[in-house]
Symmetry: C2
Subunit: 243 residues, 2 copies
C-alpha cells in the first residue's frame, strides 16, 4: 500500500467540522467519497486534527493508504474534479509508510477579527465581527505572556481527554490591516478550543475588559473563568502544519 499525503484548503461554513459523524456533512466524509471515486477503494483518511463546525483551513494535512498506481502528484487534480468548490486539494505526494498526519511537531492557526461598527458581507462567516474598538498595543502586550511552556487548562473547553494540558507556544502575533485584526499563533499543540479562547481573551484585553498586565497571573491561575470568552468558530483558520 502507498501512503499519500494531501494538503487542503476549505471554507468550513457549510460543514459540521472535519470528523465523520452521523448527523451532518463533514469535510472528512466529503473527501473520502471523492478519493474513493478516484481509486475505487474504500478509503480512510487520517487528519492532522479535528476542526470544529465552521472552522476553515488553508493548510490542513491528511493522508490515506491506497493500492492504486495513480501518479501521486496528479491525485490532487483527480480529487478536485470530484470535490465541491469549498474544498480544494492544494498538493498531493507520496510519503513513507510511517508518515502519520496526526503527529505534527507544530501547528499554526490564524484568527481574524473584523473590528468595525457595521458588519461586512464579504467577511460574513470568515471573521468575528467585534464592534467595540480594540487597542492593538494592549493585545500585542497581552500576547507576550502566552509565549513558552504553560499549563493551558484554563484555556480549554471541557470534553477533551488528553494526557497533559501543558503546551508550548512558539509565537503569537497580533497585526492589523484596515479594520481586520489578525492573530497568528504557532505552538506544538493546542487543547480543545484553545485558540478560540486565546482569541477571545486577547480581544477582551483590546477592549479593556481584561487588563493585559494581569495576563501572566490569569494564565498561571489555570482558571477558565478568568480568561475571555471562546471566540466564534467563523474567524478561525488552520494555516500550517509542520512535521
Amino acid at each position: 500500500m502507498r501512503n499519500i499525503k494531501l494538503v487542503l484548503q476549505y471554507d468550513g461554513s457549510r460543514y459540521h467540522g472535519w470528523q465523520r459523524q452521523p448527523n451532518g456533512i463533514t469535510i472528512q466524509q466529503t473527501l473520502e467519497a471523492a478519493i474513493s471515486a478516484v481509486t475505487g477503494e474504500e478509503i480512510t483518511l487520517y487528519g492532522c486534527g479535528r476542526t470544529d463546525a465552521g472552522v476553515h483551513a488553508k493548510g490542513y494535512v491528511c493522508n490515506f493508504f491506497t493500492a492504486s498506481r495513480f501518479d501521486a502528484s496528479r491525485f490532487m487534480y483527480a480529487i478536485n474534479s470530484r470535490l465541491p468548490d469549498d474544498i480544494r486539494c492544494m498538493s498531493s505526494c507520496e510519503v513513507s509508510a510511517d508518515f502519520d498526519s496526526r503527529w505534527a511537531t507544530s501547528k499554526t492557526y490564524t484568527y481574524l477579527i473584523h473590528n468595525a461598527p457595521l458588519p461586512d458581507v464579504f467577511l460574513n462567516k470568515r471573521a468575528w465581527h467585534y464592534r467595540h474598538e480594540l487597542d492593538i498595543d494592549a493585545m500585542k502586550k497581552a500576547a507576550e505572556s502566552f509565549l513558552g511552556e504553560h499549563d493551558f487548562i484554563g484555556f480549554a473547553s471541557s470534553g477533551f481527554t488528553v494526557k497533559t494540558t501543558v503546551r508550548t507556544i512558539y509565537s503569537l502575533d497580533v497585526t492589523q490591516e484596515g479594520d481586520v485584526v489578525r492573530i497568528d499563533v504557532c505552538g506544538n499543540g493546542f487543547l480543545y478550543n484553545m485558540v478560540r479562547i486565546i482569541a477571545g481573551t486577547l480581544c477582551f484585553c483590546g477592549a479593556g475588559r481584561i487588563d493585559w498586565h494581569d495576563m501572566p497571573d490569569i494564565i498561571a491561575s489555570c482558571d477558565r473563568q478568568r480568561a475571555g470568552i471562546t471566540a466564534p468558530a467563523d474567524g478561525l483558520y488552520l494555516s500550517e502544519v509542520v512535521y
Copy 2:
C-alpha cells in the same frame, strides 16, 4: 412622502441580480420585503442600476418613498435586522424629493482576478480565477487607451436599448496585491456588460492574446469580435456611485 436613500453592500452569489423578476430571488425583492416589514407599506425601490446574477456591491445606492415617521438614520438598523447576512444596509438618510438613484453622475466598479495556478476556496464566487500568468504592465498600458470619451459599442453585449453608446471613462487602474489583480474603473455610465468586457480584454492583453499597442485601434473599430471575452460575473463589484 419622505424620500429615503440607502447605501448597500451585498454578496450577489445567491441572487439572480438586482431587479425583481418572476424566476429566482433578487436583491430588490429581498430588500423591498424587509423595508415593507418595517414601514407596513407596499414599497418600491429605485436602484442605481441592474446588477447581473452573481455580481456584488460595496456601495449600491437605492431610494424609496415612505409615509413612515421612522428616524431616517435608524432605518438601516431596522432593515438589517430583517435582511439575510449577505445583504447589508450601510447607511440610510432622508434626501430631497427630487433625488433619484437612477441618475448618477459617475459609477466606480471593481473587478478582481485571482491569477494563480490553483483556485482559492476563499475567492470562490468572489474573483475570476485565471491561471495564465498576467503581464501587469501590459494591462496598465492597455488601460490607458480606454480613458476619455469613446463609442463603446464594441464593448457591449447585445440586448440593451440606449440612446447613445458613447461613454466617458474617467479612470481605469490596474493594481496587484499578492496573486489578486484588481481593476478599478470609473466612468459616467456603462453599457450592458461593459465592465466585464473591459476586464476580459485587459486580461487578454496581460496574457499576450491581445497586443496592448492595438487597443486604440480595437476601441475605434467598434467591433465586439476584436475585444476580449466577457469576464465572469463573480469578479465584479459595484464600488461607488456619485450624484
